[in-house]
């Protein structure tokens, strides 16, 4: 990035960004790999959170069913 002025920074920053995203013409391969990694790891984390909520809800319901007078 060039030094100084706001007018010079925008286009050169954008060009740097485009160059970075382009990955020398191999954007599809590089981002295809990183994208799948991101998607799978995020899906696992979201799935685990949902699973934990489901388990707690289910066990909570069972508990209230079994405790006489336990429901609100």
């Amino acid at each position: 990035m060039g030094p100084g002025g706001g007018s010079g920074r925008g286009p050169s920053g954008g060009a740097d960004m485009m160059e970075f995203l382009n990955q020398g013409g191999y954007a599809g391969f590089v981002w295809g790999s990183y994208g799948m990694a991101l998607a799978l790891l995020v899906a696992e984390v979201v799935g685990l959170r949902r699973q934990r909520r489901t388990i707690l809800t289910r066990l909570g319901r069972l508990l209230r069913l079994r405790t006489p007078g336990g429901h609100p």
Binding site: G24, S33, E44
Partner: protein, 256 residues
């Protein structure tokens, strides 16, 4: 029997301990992965030299190699817990093995997927029946087989034992993957994976690769322990302490 190892072998004492450790592993995982990505993309050369230069696509290495290492390492750890469970008949060990399997399967799939995306620009093909690719694919099926076999048997104790045996037999694939190189000298034949050593990798690339590996390891600890806590709650649902836990934590239990 007063050793701390036996104390924490009980699900009731391990559950809160895991709960305290999980946030630490999340922070370490996020920090290491971000550092590894930054270093890998901005502190490494754009191309690797040689007669057949590896262009920008070699950056897939920062997921590919750590994911492949994790796929083998998690399998070894999973088999270790399964074996401990079979020998000592400890409930928590089987639960550990169960908790590791899905994360291991994910990393195995990632190693295969990123390998295909690296193989296309560098070898000209997404897939080949190269020994290492083939044995890694079998490892993926072993993870899937372990999970499927466990969920196919209703009796949890029998499921634990059967799946543990399958996992132990499958351990043979890990050294096969590790040493599966059919062409030691790339000048003599077309080799997909070549013999390499950590000392022969450029310093910045090696640094990013190792940082990403530790990031993935911390991520695996976090996800496996989170899954383990779910398994403990489900399996110990009839005990007093789980019921107290559900009352304290559960969204539905909180109202009573």
């Amino acid at each position: 029997m007063s050793s701390p190892w036996f104390k924490y072998a009980s699900p009731a004492t391990f559950y809160p301990l895991a709960g305290r450790m999980i946030p630490v592993f999340w922070v370490l995982a996020a920090g290491l992965i971000l550092l590894g990505l930054y270093w890998g993309f901005f502190q490494t050369p754009d191309q690797l030299g040689g007669t057949n230069p590896q262009k920008e696509y070699y950056r897939i290495i920062f997921i590919h190699v750590p994911a492949a290492w994790m796929s083998m390492w998690l399998y070894v750890v999973m088999v270790g817990w399964a074996a401990v469970g079979l020998v000592f008949n400890t409930r928590l060990s089987f639960m550990m093995a169960n908790a590791i399997a899905p994360t291991g399967a994910i990393f195995t799939f990632l190693a295969l997927w990123t390998g295909a995306f690296w193989g296309r620009p560098s070898w000209g093909t997404y897939w080949d029946w190269d020994p290492r690719l083939t044995s890694e694919l079998i490892l993926f099926f072993l993870y899937i087989g372990y999970i499927a076999l466990h969920s196919a048997i209703d009796d949890t104790r029998r499921a634990d034992r059967a799946a543990a045996l399958l996992a132990i037999v499958g351990l043979v694939m890990v050294p096969v993957i590790f040493w599966s190189i059919n062409c030691p000298d790339p000048n003599q034949c077309a080799a997909l994976h070549q013999r390499s050593g950590l000392g022969r990798i450029e310093g910045n690339i090696l640094f990013s690769m190792l940082v990403m590996t530790f990031g993935f390891l911390m991520y695996s600890f976090a996800t496996a322990l989170t899954r383990l806590r779910g398994i403990i709650l489900t399996r110990e649902a009839d005990t007093q302490w789980v019921q107290a836990e559900v009352r304290a934590e559960g969204p539905a239990g909180a109202r009573t």
